[in-house]
Symmetry: C2
Subunit: 215 residues, 2 copies
């Protein structure tokens, strides 16, 4: 089974990280006219940066990732944008985390093509050694898969899905143990069960004789 | 000073409300192709509905409110939208709360003009007696100003601003007391101070001799 570090982010972490990032913006006395949140991962961070910086205009951009083998150049591309006119505006692009930096790089390129006055970027976290360093962020961390609270169910589905690649069935207790072993991740049984019940309802997993298996 | 009820929503409230709303969608076996989050208030709820329902496409709409005196018809109007093609899609429009229902009504009208297969609406909360009842929501409440965690700083600025309409200066402790009296609102001194420090940095308030006043 795939072993990699994962880390659970709490809502309190999110709020603290966004505040720390926003303070760096405030301390430079820079003030964006508009915040561009990258869909879907950057939306909550973008909304918080708006609150802390007092920005009323909040728009969304969606960048599409393609696997390196799927496209000739292995680059991210824009999927859909906003009808908002970025011309002449000071723009802050916000995402949750900068890892490869693909999304932020492409989003920045796209925004720059719309004749803004200035473009800066902000995240909550950045990964050490990331090729793209945002202008503002709270913490630089060693690579780990961050389970953000707005992606908890999707991440649980993916992580349990990984386990079910190699086992036919697994109990909630076994998942809790395997998450510790494989990812150093401490997930409460109650929250995990809640997520798996949603996945069951969505016909992704089923529950038989005390164990979860693929539906 | 304006007296009205206000209520602090925690991140745990938000998560619980979104889960309750999303469960109602799941129980009807309805599944949207795309979630439309209303900017700025609906973004966090929209992101959570996406996670719980397993929706990958998330786009933003901004509806502009005008005061009844400001426009001939007193109606909300669309400010900016998304280049995403809603044609033939099952669309779930998400906002934080439905009060007058103006934003959701207009957003729905706009989305319907884009030839979707179906449009439904969801919020976290709805106000008793609201003319617009969303298809999905967690709780129906008596009218109160809800201080959402993504709007905390803006709300603190507005509520303290109200106090400073009638007093020249006010200490953090006095604000905490006045919030209880005027709004039945229990705000921690630490979080309030953090918000006011941001407002100070943004030159909205200043702090002199232990008291806050307009900058």
């Amino acid at each position: 089974m795939k072993k990699f570090p994962a880390r659970l982010a709490s809502w309190e972490d999110i709020e603290r990280w966004a505040k720390e990032g926003a303070w760096k913006v405030l301390e430079e006395n820079w003030r964006p006219d508009v915040v561009v949140g990258l869909a879907r991962g950057g939306w909550v961070a973008a909304r918080l940066y708006c609150d802390y910086l007092g920005v009323k205009d909040l728009v969304s951009l969606k960048v599409e990732h393609w696997g390196v083998t799927a496209t000739p150049d292995g680059k991210a591309k824009l999927k859909y944008g906003s009808s908002y006119d970025l011309g002449g505006k000071r723009v802050l692009i916000v995402d949750d985390i900068s890892d490869t930096g693909e999304s932020l790089t492409l989003a920045k390129k796209y925004v720059e093509s719309r004749n803004p006055a200035e473009v800066r970027t902000a995240t909550l976290l950045t990964i050490k050694g990331s090729r793209f360093k945002p202008d503002y962020y709270a913490e630089e961390i060693e690579w780990a898969w961050i389970v953000f609270p707005w992606n908890f169910v999707e991440d649980m589905i993916n992580l349990v899905g990984n386990i079910l690649e190699e086992r036919e069935a697994v109990s909630t207790d076994e998942i809790v143990e395997l998450f510790k072993e494989l990812h150093g991740l401490d997930v409460s049984k109650g929250k995990l069960e809640e997520a798996l019940r949603m996945a069951e309802r969505r016909k992704i997993f089923k529950f038989r004789e005390g164990k979860w298996l693929k539906a």
